[in-house]
Symmetry: C2
Amino acid sequence: MRTIEWEDGVVVTIDQTKLPHELALLKMKTCEEVAEAIKSMKVRGAPLIGVTAAYGLALTAYHSTARNKQDLLQELKESAETLRRTRPTAVNLSWAIDRVLRKAEEAAEDVKLVAKAVMDEAVRMADEDVEVNRRIGRIGAELINDGDVVLTHCNAGSLATVGYGTALGVIRAAVGQGKRVRVFVTETRPKLQGAKLTAYELKRDGIPVTLITDNAVGYVMYKRMINKVIVGADRIVKDAVINKVGTYEIAALAHENEVPFYVAAPTSSFDLTRTAEDVIIEERSPEEVTYIGSVHVAPEGVDVFNPAFDITPFQYVDAIICEGGILFKPNYEAVLSVYKGR
Amino acid sequence: MRTIEWEDGVVVTIDQTKLPHELALLKMKTCEEVAEAIKSMKVRGAPLIGVTAAYGLALTAYHSTARNKQDLLQELKESAETLRRTRPTAVNLSWAIDRVLRKAEEAAEDVKLVAKAVMDEAVRMADEDVEVNRRIGRIGAELINDGDVVLTHCNAGSLATVGYGTALGVIRAAVGQGKRVRVFVTETRPKLQGAKLTAYELKRDGIPVTLITDNAVGYVMYKRMINKVIVGADRIVKDAVINKVGTYEIAALAHENEVPFYVAAPTSSFDLTRTAEDVIIEERSPEEVTYIGSVHVAPEGVDVFNPAFDITPFQYVDAIICEGGILFKPNYEAVLSVYKGR
């Protein structure tokens, strides 16, 4: 199944906080439930939260009792604000919201047609996401050779998208071409998406995977145990890639050890109106660090700084793989030209 | 109190696996119990496991019923082998064992005098450790300025030593001189010594401390939130510092961000007969990564690579602080000359 589905006024997805031990479905009937799921990271991954937000607006449209277009637009705008407040860093969220709102505004005056336009657009975005990921996979697989050992971070897999995945999509496509690829995945503290989601996905697909702590990245590079890195992105700005915290560390170590560092992301993650300085890096609660499950792993009341993302300047990025092609040694102009051509 | 004490045939220490929530004393009466405590990391930290091993031999000597020197020496050698097998990477362990065995061999023929020589040497080494740490602290404090924000990794504090600490000893000495110092500490996966031990020690001492995940190191450097790094060492060889896994990552990032990277360690951690290539980097059990307390955080049966240490070539080290002085931009000759002069 896809990671998210629309079923007549109900959005069905996987509660990712329950993996890898339980495949629990989460059924959401209101935009508020969708917002809560994004905020609590039951649903996560930049491409997926974009589509999930679109479905949140679709729920508002589906269940609305508004009598005219203007009232429905007002409801949609309120839902949009609720969704925008959930998480600040991944640009796909506002990209998806803006795209759906535009379709609603462009629709005819009939309130039913507005609602239909919103729902159709959400479904279209979900379909597009899978198609874009498959395209990124096909394109990126060129960079992967038979016998490669690839390091990835966090989860940029089918669980981070509607299906197939970005970074893991590239690996899946390479494996699909008959290349033997092994993967090292960081556990990715604090939320452990690498251990809980990426290791799970790859094991399920029969792709050999080895789990390491985030601390072991330097050692596996020093020992030449991996020869490529591929990660996803939450936002690509004029001068940097913003992705899960720890990405910059891996990129700097890859640079130092002359290991190619690749980023796989759809152009819906591009935000070329901003530089890294202008992006809000989400800081999450101390408890994500001080508790693991119910286990308290730090002294009572200790101060914690818990940024969810970090900033990797382009100088550390050997290539960005998007549905428009591969941008080697990316810079603003190159990224802009692919962005405009999408 | 000191982290370890000798009380008439009983070695009393803190069970560090119970911290920070419980200060449980561990009382050991046999060398086997000591070996088990080292292996299971109830006792950890390179200087501390050296002294603990010496006390293990002291327990063998104290409780021995050997009738002559030769028999006692044989028992001590068997205990020594048990201790050596516990953990391979920190050199302090074999340094301490060799030193105690030499004293036993040099002792007079009377078996009681041999036993006394062993016990006296173990107590002397514990006293020395505290004195050496205080000296390292005094010397290293020169490198710390009023207002500094210092990053540390793992625990190189009083809990890693008999008392005072190496890296944290430097910070304590600087604070003792009236300098305002704030500390960022990495949680240090997989065993979380940063979260559980360093945060605890610093909080107890009233030194401001902020806990971060290992993944956030790059971001705090990028944002210039810290301006120095100081860590301990498990072994300093001809060409590199071997320390808790993750150290090399921090050193490479510090280098990239022009943040000074300092290592504080006694000369008992120096091993100038070897290069990094010749040192066994301990690999510990997968369960350290896949379980946190009783919480299972990875898919059943996933492959894990869990090195406990990594290798930081000297090129990333701005200074080594030892009881013999500060070695700026260390190289083999400089390290050797301090080592010989000890």
